[in-house]
């Protein structure tokens, strides 16, 4: 097969985006939706058909030289290999389902062309990240998803709050992008190329300090996109966007871009043990932070947003302890079950006519059985119920941490297990409050019709979420680590433990899951009321992170801006210029008096001038 065919994967969503952006307002709704869904579906089909190209060393394809100047050159080159192929397949597949779902969700939206154009463009940008073999091209996708999420989060721009949330997402991720950008400049200065594969090869020759700093810079970029500490504040606000957006961007794809970046550059990052430790610690800290916040949220989508942050933290942990396969495995299963949960949440919001507060829901299980079962499957995966995909992938990370010989990793295992407990707790809290119990609010009067396409797209995702564990089933359960095997040399370390210990760990994980369930049952099945304590408010506001950022960064930024404008520019520079101008004005005013307009004054002055000159000459002659 011609390697250039790989560009078809990118071309389809891009073409659909361009068509919808340029002609969307003139085309009938059906055509717009068909273009959007078709573009992504064709891309998924292309990634599936081109799968053979990924085998072995993978396939590289170069379209043209994007820019070249001096000794710098960057090409539009993509690679379809063991990491990017499954990622591309996952992204396009989940995106196709989400596009279908969106067709139903946005049924009543007037501005659908803009929505689908942005959604398609987003898929394109994400695929650029996934497929790119050049850091600069990756950066294009990286910023591209930033822009698309900006446009999509603020999609309902009539409310300033939404537009602000979009802007926040763009700005905060851009702060992270600066780190990636600097890493990019540095890597070019070091290696003279931006090709990812060549950088990975050259990385072995870098000094340890350089490696450490470079890895931290890459981590900074990854943290921005993946909403890890300290750049996490944008993700909860990003829930202002339409739910399909939350599902696509904030569950399945964009937030995992950071993990993917670290996996792509794993040969470089893994060379610095200190940096790896930092990555793992950032992951665990974020996971803990987000899990505590999720346990106190009141809006259904914010709970899911914090849970996403927490799960991505697990992926960072996996990368940090050196296992790419565990990270990617969790990335895939998470994409399935979190997309499922978000889409289910969208259905819930649709059914309750836009209600977001879980304390005002309840009893929805009786209203829609299919929705309940699908959501339950997603929730069980998230909570890590045994034998679901989430169980295997999360357990894979924890087992790897436990099995490692690095002392820190044992501690990380403990912390991870504790976070798993919190996860089970808040997941069941969500389930109880939304689906069980009594209906808090009679919404029957304006109960919304749920389009069929929204319900039925949940089913394939539910199936994948339930059975996704098979992709990388450990030998313990009769599997053969399929993903690990497929990744081959790129997979990083794997757990090597006696079966007895593995069984023991599985037992621990199961009991953690049960424990979380029991806590949630006791707390929310019996007495479902929101907590009003200071602690609850602290957690609800995300540890007051937004307020802290506002006080430490945003407000001083604004004040300084006004200071520079009014004082430095206005008073100092313009002020001194005005003083100069004023001075010459005063001087002119003074000199003006000399011109009386009277002939005799002038003539007298002339006379006196002559006298003075004569006297001067005379004095010169005499002396």
């Amino acid at each position: 097969m011609n390697p250039l065919l790989l560009f078809l994967i990118l071309l389809f969503p891009l073409a659909a985006a361009v068509v919808n952006a340029l002609l969307g307002t003139r085309l009938p709704r059906g055509a717009v939706v068909a273009t959007a869904v078709g573009g992504v579906a064709l891309s998924a089909l292309a990634s599936f058909l081109l799968w053979p190209l990924a085998a072995g060393e993978g396939t590289r394809a170069t379209l043209y030289t994007w820019m070249a100047s001096g000794d710098f050159s960057a090409a539009v080159e993509i690679v379809y290999d063991r990491i990017s192929a499954p990622m591309a397949l996952m992204v396009t597949f989940v995106a196709t389902l989400i596009h279908l779902y969106a067709a139903g969700y946005m049924e009543e939206e007037k501005d659908y062309a803009r929505f689908f154009a942005l959604l398609n463009l987003f898929v394109f940008a994400m695929l650029v990240i996934v497929l790119s073999d050049n850091l600069l091209l990756l950066f294009l996708g990286w910023e591209g998803v930033g822009f698309c999420s900006y446009g999509l989060i603020g999609f309902w721009y009539f409310e300033e709050r939404n537009a602000d949330a979009g802007r926040k997402a763009f700005l905060v991720t851009r702060v992270g992008d600066v780190f990636l950008g600097v890493a990019l400049l540095w890597l070019f200065a070091l290696t003279g190329t931006l090709s990812i594969s060549q950088i990975n090869e050259a990385a072995a020759g870098f000094a340890p300090g350089t490696l450490f700093l470079l890895s931290l810079l890459l981590l900074g970029g990854a943290c921005g996109k993946s909403a890890q500490l300290p750049f996490m504040t944008w993700l909860p606000d990003a829930m202002a966007g339409p739910t399909p957006v939350s599902a696509l961007i904030h569950a399945a794809t964009m937030v995992t871009a950071g993990v993917y970046l670290l996996c792509r550059l794993f040969p470089l990052v893994s060379l610095s043990p200190e940096a790896m430790a930092v990555i793992a610690l950032v992951g665990v800290a974020t996971a803990l932070y987000a899990a505590t916040c999720a346990a106190a949220q009141r809006e259904i989508k914010r709970v899911l947003a914090y849970s996403t942050m927490s799960q991505v933290g697990f992926m960072f942990l996996a990368v940090g302890i050196g296992s790419v396969s565990a990270a990617l495995f969790h990335l895939f299963t998470h994409a399935f079950f979190k997309a499922l949960l978000f889409m289910g949440a969208g259905c819930v919001i649709h059914m309750t006519a836009g209600e977001n507060d879980i304390y005002r829901m309840g009893g929805l299980a009786r209203r829609d059985r299919l929705l309940f079962w699908c959501f339950l499957i997603g929730a069980l995966c998230l909570a890590g119920a045994p034998l679901t995909s989430g169980f295997f992938s999360k357990d894979g990370i924890l087992v790897t941490a436990f099995a490692s010989e690095v002392p820190l990793h044992r501690f990380l295992w403990g912390a991870g297990s504790f976070i798993a407990l919190l996860t089970a707790f808040y997941t069941f809290r969500l389930l109880y409050l939304v689906f069980l119990g009594a209906e808090k609010r009679p919404v029957g009067a304006h109960r919304h019709h749920l389009p069929g396409v929204m319900r039925w797209t949940l089913v394939p995702l539910a199936a994948l979420a339930l059975l996704g564990g098979l992709f990388d089933l450990p030998p313990l359960y009769g599997g053969g680590h399929a993903l690990r095997e497929w990744l081959g040399p790129l997979a990083g370390i794997g757990p090597h433990l006696p079966h007895a210990v593995e069984w023991l760990l599985a037992g621990v994980a199961t009991s953690i899951f049960l424990l979380g369930w029991v806590f949630a049952h006791l707390r929310y099945r019996i007495a479902p009321a929101p907590g009003e304590s200071l602690g609850a408010r602290f957690l609800l506001s995300g540890w007051w992170a937004d307020r802290a950022v506002y006080t430490v960064v945003v407000r001083p930024f604004g004040s300084l801006a006004r200071f520079f404008w009014k004082v430095a520019d206005g008073r100092l520079i313009d002020g001194s210029l005005h003083t100069l101008a004023e001075g010459s004005n005063v001087l002119g005013e003074g000199l003006r008096r000399l011109t009386t307009g009277r002939l005799h004054n002038y003539l007298t002055a002339l006379g006196w001038g002559g006298v003075v000159m004569l006297a001067w000459f005379l004095a010169g002659y005499l002396l």
């Binding site: 070249a68 710098f72 900006y150 721009y157 009539f158 537009a163 430095a568």
Partner: protein, 507 residues
Amino acid sequence: MNLLPDITQGASSFPLLTLLVAIPAVGGLVCFFLRRHAAACRWLSLISTLVVLALSVVYFVTFSGQGGWLLYEDYPWIERFGIRYTLGLDGISLLMILLTALTQVLAILVSWRRTFELPLFFATILFMEAGILGVFLALDLFLFYLFWEVMVIPMFFLIGVYGHGRRVYAAVKFFLYTMGGSLLMLLGIIALVIIHAGQTGEITFSLPALQGTVLSPETEWWLYGAFLIAFIIKVPLVPFHTWLPDAHTEAPTAGSLDLAGLLLKTGMYGLIRIAFPLFPVAAQASLPFLAVLAIVGIFYAAWIAFAQLDAKRLIAYSSVSHVGLMVLGLCAWNQTAVEGSILQMFNHGITTGALFIMVGMIQHRAHTRDLDSLSGLWAKAPILSAFFLFFALSSLGLPGLNNFVGEILILIGAFQANPWWGILGMAGVVFAAAYTLRLVKETLWGPPDETPEWQDLTPREYIVLVPLAALVLWVGVYPAPFLEPIREPVRLMLEGGIFTALNGGTP
């Protein structure tokens, strides 16, 4: 290997370069005398700018990728003082000429519906075009200075007569600032010519000849300082920038367009073509200081832009921030960064020009530029808003659009010259995002106000915006055609230590 091009290469029997300058000048004169015939002037101006554009596109296509002087003209003028009429076109000026020609067509088009003294308005635009083209072509310092002033005077009237609100203040401020600088330059030119005449016995204003002047370090610093101040006022670098926001805010749309697109570029061009080659040693030593000013400018201006309440002022300050990055690219003094810098001059003209045009369009409809009063434009004019968003994204350096290409080349080069320059320059993109997103948010998003429906883009506005958008995308995705013409000139400039390609053109 003979790197220096043969002068006969660019010499042509027909004065192709004079044609470029003469068409707008003659058009301007005719407009000046046809004050009573607005319609005729309109078409005459459009046609003359279009002819200049067509010519420059022809040159661009014909000469793409060649080094050295592409076209060259040299005639004696005022022989008693050795003043010659010397014009030369190389890759750098080619790009600038293309930008100028395009910008002036747009300036005519956006002012199409003006009523107040329209023929004189168009005459000033055409005279300015002649002046700016002359600046980009002149190789004789006297001629350069002449064009330099010719370009300023129409702008003075454009702001002072046709501007908004505090137009007289802004016009006088602009004029005094630039005059202050250019008088210093005139002093510098005269001093240099006299020193040169003292050494060789020949009075000449020819740039290549003056390059050979032997200067004591102290003299070189003084003369370089005179030229430098003239140019960085025009660029403008912080702290010589305060004329720009006022001039931009008060100028009519066409004036803002020309200021941002062209006048600022003449400062950069002067640094590249005149100041650096004439005083290589002082210039080389001054680069780190200039870089500091540039970096301070990037952040300082971006910071102020963030606080602005007037859309035009915000964009004006963003211009100051952007030129800071371009100067940083020059300071890095390597192939990648300097190429990026020159490309960025072109990009900035396109993008910022487009933004000013669009603010003009918005103001035409909303009768305000106040960011607090504007809101929810997307609901009222989605296509206009989409274009606005597009150019704003280009301005904040979204990859795939033109500004990113220039920025990343500058940053790559700057990082090689000094890692901190690259890091700080990169950090500037967050600031760029901060003020640009604020501009977009305040105008496009939010609830639309109650005023009646707007007309979305008119056909004339499409004609203005579509080519700009196409260029933005073209340079962003495939910048090679625009990088190619400047490669050889930049290489020659860097290879001769700091000498430019000018040596090849010695008459």
